[in-house]
């Protein structure tokens, strides 16, 4: 079979249309603050049998034939796309972060794998009819797949959600990222083994041989391979044209890894993923190299892949509400409970654990890739695939609102959450010691600690280095024996000298008390408060407010504006 000029024309035309629709809809969804992938899948649904195929079946068949050379060419293209997607996913995985986060990440990740896996396996095996599967021999492998499908996470979506919620660089953010990385590694390993177990290989290896080769490949690439790559990257980045040389190097290694794992009987994507981890681990890999390869894959190959999903499956004809709901319930229950408990057992509190649970619940592109491979391998039917896609999109979209809800409730490291009307006083003192004394009285009553104890700590800190900032603001502070931070505010219109940098008298005095042995909370709150009152006119307006209620209200409005 050979591609004729007509075939080539149709092929290129179909790719152009796919890219055009994917980009337009991806951009629209991005503007709506939704993941671009949702738009790209919708583009596929519009172009596929669900909409375009219904309206104009002949044109659809001509442009996107379901068999023949054009179909083969398109399939090859999407195979390359999925390999590249897993290669860049691997680049983002940093196993050393897992080690530095230690028990919390490992426990969260382990429970986030095991609980959804058991739940998915058990329900699919015991009640296969819920998934539209018969009581035949294939239900065991199907149940294994469902367990794996429910236990995987999507690092890119998770990372983006953490960034949107402004918790990427926090302790919770690092735990979630580390757990998701470990989760991805084991999820893909298990899935590859299932493919091996199905006898999906065509190279005549037994399951045991495939398993042996897989484990050896992982160990070698992540030990010696990683070291060699780390030595080669600086040479390539300096001696060969940039970024062409390094991009070439990454793609060549990725494709070699992919070819090897395909050869040993597990899917090509796994090899690309593991090689991606080894490359991404290099301390010499420049951030702009990562960015360039991300742009290259995310803007060209990923859209083509996600559009191709809609082209393959009729989402309306294959929509089964029972399957969709079953998958959704299993996905939410397994991941939120599993990761939540894992985090809770490792020492996080209830709210933090729920944030971790919902954070890890995003399935995104990884689930869809897993689903399409299972569909191609005949592991699942189209109704289950549609259920998985809907679940992937729904879990990705819902993750941020749930996390945000639990973060807002109890985050006692944010100024906003420490603010209370009864901790605001209006004074008219002329010495800083007196203002501090009044604030300390408020703290003493609330914290049930002796006034003198708190005063001594605050004044001793004040003597070391005055705490006047600028714009009428002073933040006297100390670390004392308390469990949670405390904030009290004094409005002292008369102004007192706190040796502020702009030499202005301080009128807005915020007492900050934080737990001893926790520098991080103190620094976080100090920098948050200092940043909040950078605008002198805004502080002047606050000073004119007549009572505590109005002041707290205005501060909360300022906070929301600052976060939006």
């Amino acid at each position: 079979m050979q591609l004729t000029a007509e075939h080539i024309t149709t092929f290129i035309l179909s790719i152009s249309i796919m890219l055009l629709f994917a980009k337009v809809l991806g951009e629209i969804f991005s503007k709506l603050k939704q993941p671009a992938i949702v738009g790209e899948i919708v583009a596929g649904i519009l172009l596929g049998p669900t909409v375009f195929g219904m309206i104009s079946p002949d044109t659809f068949q001509w442009l996107f034939p379901q068999q023949g050379v054009i179909k083969i060419a398109l399939d090859s293209f999407t195979t390359i796309a999925v390999i590249l997607l897993l290669l860049i996913s691997g680049l983002d995985v940093d196993l050393s972060i897992v080690l530095s986060q230690g028990k919390k990440a490992i426990s969260t990740s382990f429970m986030g794998l095991v609980v959804p896996f058991i739940l998915g396996f058990a329900v699919s095996y015991l009640f296969p009819q819920l998934m539209g599967i018969g009581e035949d021999g294939s239900k065991f492998v199907f149940a294994l797949f469902m367990g794996t499908a429910l236990s995987i996470s999507a690092l890119p979506v998770i990372a983006k959600t953490l960034m949107d919620l402004n918790i990427f660089k926090t302790r919770l953010g690092f735990i979630i990222i580390a757990a998701a990385m470990l989760n991805d590694l084991f999820g893909w390993l298990i899935f590859s083994i299932i493919l091996g177990l199905m006898g999906a290989n065509t190279h005549g290896f037994t399951f045991e041989q495939t398993l042996f080769f897989t484990i050896t490949f992982v160990l070698l690439v992540l030990s010696i391979g990683k070291k060699i790559i780390n030595k080669m990257i600086p040479l390539i980045q300096t001696k060969i044209s940039f970024p062409g040389g390094i991009l070439n190097f990454i793609l060549i290694l990725g494709f070699l890894g992919a070819a090897f794992t395909e050869f040993i009987g597990i899917h090509a994507i796994f090899g690309a993923f593991i090689v991606g981890i080894a490359i991404g681990d290099s301390v010499h890999l420049k951030e702009n190299t990562r960015q360039i390869i991300h742009q290259f894959v995310s803007n060209i190959f990923a859209p083509l892949f996600f559009v191709s999903i809609g082209l393959r499956v009729n989402f309306i004809a294959n929509f089964d509400i029972v399957i969709v709901l079953t998958i959704l319930v299993l996905a939410f229950t397994g991941k939120v409970i599993g990761c939540g408990f894992g985090a809770y057992w490792s020492g996080l509190n209830k709210n933090e654990s729920l944030v971790v649970g919902f954070g890890m619940n995003s399935r995104g592109a990884m689930e869809i890739i897993l689903g399409i491979l299972a569909l191609q391998a005949g592991l699942i039917h189209e109704e289950v695939f549609v259920g998985l896609v809907i679940m992937a999109l729904f879990t990705s979209i819902s993750s941020a609102p749930f996390m945000s809800y639990f973060l807002k409730e109890k985050d006692r490291t944010k100024f906003r959450n420490l603010l209370q009307e009864r901790f605001v006083i209006f004074t008219n003192e002329n010495e800083k010691e007196k203002v501090i004394g009044k604030l300390v009285e408020v703290a003493s009553k609330e914290l049930k600690l002796e006034r003198e104890v708190i005063l001594k700590e605050v004044m001793s800190r004040e003597k070391n280095l005055p705490t006047g900032i600028a714009n009428y603001l002073a933040i006297p502070h100390a670390k004392i024996k308390i469990k949670e931070p405390f904030v009290a505010i004094a409005i002292n219109k008369r102004g007192v000298n706190f040796d502020a940098a702009d030499e202005l008298p301080c009128k807005l005095i915020i007492l900050l008390l934080t737990p001893e042995n926790n520098n991080e909370i103190q620094l976080q709150l100090l920098s948050e408060i200092a940043a909040k009152f950078r605008n002198k006119e805004q502080v002047e307006k606050l000073l004119e407010l007549p009572n505590a209620s109005k002041l707290c209200g205005e501060l909360k409005i300022m906070d929301e504006k600052g976060n939006s």
Binding site: S89, D92, N288, N519
Partner: protein, 276 residues
């Protein structure tokens, strides 16, 4: 600051230089000095050890000699602990070969496991001079606060010319998080903003420590934690690179996927001061 210094000594070519360095440190800290040697004690080995001490110009009577037997690293750690050493000095190659690094050399084991502070000298000198350039890697923990304070005291005693605190930070998955819609310039400015925020936070942290007598420079770098700071110290010809000792026991996996302090163990960026 350090009341008893211990020197792990073998009959290597750097032995005499290590004794000289330790003698200088003994004077700086006004402390006692003990020499720990692991090996069979007989007249021949005693003579060799005395010869090294004499050649270094030390007074034998002012030095405590501790002999031990068995696996060198384990025996040094045990002897140092029993003798109440609070700063263990040892020499080490800048870099070990891959096998030695993974399975542990004497110096690397001391760095990872000695319960008190240690100073690992990568090129001890026969004519030791004070350390002038101090680089300290820091986060905001209480343990790190202790490291900064200890290194600062050390720097004051040495009349150091430079005291730089390095804060390195990394956001794994950042490229994935910002997605396909941001350009490289936007990514760079995002990193710059984060660096600025970290620098401001570190300034606040250092202010809280109330350290006086030496100008403190603060540097924030973005990249793999542990590697970026050690690399910065190396590129700036640090004399001392001070780190906080590992909180938990470092294992094989930590060497396979190095993070934080393991990068400094893997290739010493300068003389390494490990504060515990």
């Amino acid at each position: 600051m350090f009341s008893k210094i211990g020197l792990a000594i073998s009959f290597s070519p750097t032995g005499k230089a290590l004794v000289k360095e330790s003698l200088r440190l003994q004077k700086v800290f006004n402390s006692r000095l003990a020499l720990i040697h692991i090996g069979e004690r007989n007249s021949e080995s005693e003579e060799l050890l005395f010869k090294t001490i004499d050649e270094a110009g030390a007074n034998r009577n002012n030095i405590e000699l501790i002999w031990g037997e068995g696996d060198p690293a384990t025996a040094i750690i045990k002897a140092g602990k029993e003798a109440g050493i609070d700063l263990l000095v040892a020499g080490a190659l800048e870099k070990e070969n891959m096998l030695k690094f993974y399975f542990g050399s004497v110096a690397r084991k001391i760095m990872r496991e000695f319960p008190s502070s240690s100073l690992i000298l990568k090129s001890p000198s026969l004519e030791p001079v004070p350390f002038k350039k101090f680089f300290i890697t820091a986060d905001y923990s209480s343990r790190c606060e202790k490291t900064i304070r200890a290194a600062f005291q050390f720097a004051l005693k040495e009349n150091a010319e430079e005291f730089t605190i390095i804060r390195d930070f990394y956001m794994p998955g950042l490229t994935a998080a910002i997605g396909e819609n941001k350009t490289y310039d936007e990514l760079s400015s995002l990193i710059d903003q984060m660096k600025y925020d970290e620098e401001e936070k570190m300034k606040l942290f250092v202010n809280e420590l109330n350290l006086k007598g030496l100008e403190i420079k603060i540097v924030c770098v973005y990249g793999k934690e542990g590697w970026e700071d050690s690399n910065y110290a190396r590129n700036n010809n640090a004399d001392i690179f001070a780190v906080t000792g590992p909180e938990k026991k470092m294992r094989f996996l930590d060497r396979l996927f190095p993070h934080e302090i393991e990068f400094s163990f893997e290739a010493l960026p300068a003389n390494l001061l490990i504060i515990k």
